[in-house]
């Protein structure tokens, strides 16, 4: 048998190590003659070894690299025939850096989830243990979070026993074999970091035959029903093959909104998110939820104006566009875009358009079939 010294040393990257392999016992007469070293399976150059005495082989390593695996580098002393006589695990790395960017949120005003980033240089080559700690700012002892990795590798979830309307101090401690580091302290009140799940049941639908509008409807997130809060919502939408989102801000406490000024015959993706601001009468905003899953809908195709084509039949649908009407339509569209979700103008506009469709239909029936030249814009074969 043999023994390597030191056993399981912990070293800083770049440091040196002097190790010895001492044989003794059976077989009697065993000597250091013919022994050799390997590190992580690779034979070390003989110039690094030295026979100290009859039963001891020494090794000098310099400028050590970070450990290849967390269980330690394997330094092994082999007999002449290659068999393993003894070994020692080397732990070479760096002490941890201060964890940074702690962010926390509460989903239901009872729990707290926090996330952080390990210190700037990342790789310490040693297993580093992170511990999230918290305490009431003015009172009491430190508590340690116990449910780790809930939303990624550097996260923790505190499920209960948290007070409201009073500040907490929160920090992260990182420890490994070479030392420890502590993040800056984050101070917060649970009520200031409340967020919700995204609004469920987002539905996007057409508004009758209106080609430039879509109606978005959603449900208020159920979790905060009892919390006397006012929700703010944000809607964003984009055309199917674009990456530019248009955002509708300032949607307060409603659960529906009409998007206008859209392109006809186009597929839109729509998402909604919620901010539970004003919890228990506070004036502060909460944290925006994630965006809801994208919901898609398409605007109806516009009627085409132009001479005689088969595609532009009125079919009891849209009245044909005249120049005055087109401008009016554009004005109203602009009005809607810049006066969000103003119900007054929508209703009026819809009523007017519905009246236009009806009156156009009756006018057709009254006047019968006319040659296309008679009207301002051409239509297909009249019915």
């Amino acid at each position: 048998t043999a023994v390597i010294s030191p056993q399981d040393p912990t070293l800083l990257i770049g440091s040196s190590l002097l190790a010895t392999c001492s044989v003794h016992g059976d077989p009697p007469g065993a000597t250091a003659e013919g022994l050799y070293w390997t590190l992580n399976g690779r034979r070390l150059p003989p110039e690094l070894s030295r026979v100290l005495n009859a039963s001891t082989l020494a090794l000098a390593l310099a400028n050590l690299n970070g450990s290849r695996q967390q269980s330690g580098d394997n330094l092994v002393c082999h007999a002449r025939d290659g068999s393993i006589l003894a070994g020692s695990c080397l732990y070479v790395g760096l002490p941890p850096e201060k964890p940074v960017n702690i962010s926390c949120w509460s989903k239901n005003m009872k729990d707290l989830t926090c996330r952080w980033t390990p210190g700037a240089h990342g790789e310490t080559f040693l297993h580093t243990n992170y511990s999230l700690k918290y305490k009431l700012r003015w009172y009491g002892q430190d508590n340690t979070c116990e449910e780790y990795h809930t939303v990624g590798p550097h996260s923790c979830h505190i499920p209960k026993d948290l007070a409201l309307f009073t500040p907490y101090e929160i920090w992260v401690e990182a420890t490994n074999r070479l030392g420890s580091a502590r993040s800056d302290v984050l101070t917060l009140d649970i009520l200031d970091v409340v967020t919700t799940d995204p609004p469920p049941d987002v539905h996007v639908s057409r508004v009758g035959g209106l080609e430039d509008q879509l109606s978005v409807r959603w449900v208020s997130p159920p979790a905060l029903k009892d919390f006397l809060f006012q929700a703010k919502y944000q809607i964003r939408y984009r055309v199917e093959d674009s990456v530019d989102w248009k955002v509708v801000d300032d949607v307060s406490n409603q659960t529906s909104c009409r998007l206008a000024g859209l392109k006809p015959g186009t597929v839109y993706f729509v998402q909604v998110r919620c901010n539970p601001f004003g919890i228990y009468g506070s004036k502060k905003a909460g944290i925006w939820s994630e965006w809801s899953h994208p919901t898609a809908a398409s605007t109806p195709r516009s009627e085409r104006s132009g001479p005689g084509g088969g595609a532009c039949e009125p079919r009891g649908g849209e009245p044909s566009s005249g120049p005055v009407r087109r401008e009016l339509k554009q004005f109203l569209g602009w009005l809607k875009k810049h006066a969000y979700c103003s119900n007054l103008s929508f209703r009026l506009y819809d009523q007017w358009r519905a009246w236009m469709q009806k009156s156009h239909k009756t006018r057709n029936q009254d006047e019968g079939i006319l040659p296309s030249g008679r009207r301002g814009t051409a239509r297909g074969p009249a019915r």
Binding site: D8, N40, G41, Q70, S71, G72, N74, V76, I84
Partner: protein, 202 residues
């Protein structure tokens, strides 16, 4: 026949429940044999997974260090003639002793690895599963012994206290020997149970 008569007929045809008469060992032998075969399919994967996590030279392909042994684990190898001539009681007793030692060693290795390789759920799960299966096999073998009217060997604590002071490298080697011997003893259990299966046919 009306439905109640059907049931009557079925009850008459089913085998009578045995009371004091010794049960046939064929059933528990067959079960133990199936379990051992099932275990055998996974033993080399356990060894390979284990070696992967220890780093080189353990993780080198074809790694083998027969010189590494544990005195607390009985050897699975035996002279063929001796092994073949074992009587039922000795055969089962040796296997029981080995798997009992293996369940204790697998627990120790799992504890060691959760310290040496903390972020390795796959390895830890496989070690846990191996231990559970070994326990299952112990149960099946106890059933065979009961069926054969043989006395149960006492449960012994096979691990000496000195095992606790091991260095990281010693623990890595220990896990290698345990997972290797688990494979060897499973191979032997398949052979032992095949012999018994032939001796006590259903």
């Amino acid at each position: 026949l009306p439905p109640p008569a059907h049931l009557c007929l079925l009850t008459l045809l089913s085998p009578p429940l045995s009371s004091a008469a010794p049960t046939s060992p064929a059933e528990p032998i067959s079960q133990a044999y199936s379990l051992a075969l099932y275990m055998q399919k996974n033993t080399s994967m356990l060894l390979q997974t284990y070696l992967q996590y220890q780093g080189s030279p353990f993780s080198d392909s074809g790694f083998s260090a027969p010189e590494l042994q544990l005195s607390s684990l009985p050897p699975a190898t035996a002279f063929f003639k001796t092994w073949r001539a074992l009587d039922d009681g000795e055969r089962l007793s040796l296997a029981q002793g080995a798997f009992l030692a293996l369940t204790q060693h697998l627990q120790l290795v799992r504890d060691d690895q959760s310290d040496l390789n903390p972020g390795s759920p796959i390895l830890l799960a496989q070690l846990g599963t191996a231990r559970l299966r070994a326990q299952g096999l112990l149960g099946n073998m106890a059933a065979i012994m009961t069926a054969l009217g043989l006395p149960m060997p006492p449960e012994e604590d096979t691990l000496e206290l000195v095992a606790f002071g091991a260095s990281a490298f010693e623990r890595k080697c220990r896990g290698y020997v345990v997972t290797r011997e688990y494979g060897h003893w499973t191979d032997r259990a398949v052979r032992d149970l095949a012999l018994l299966k032939a001796k006590y046919p259903a």
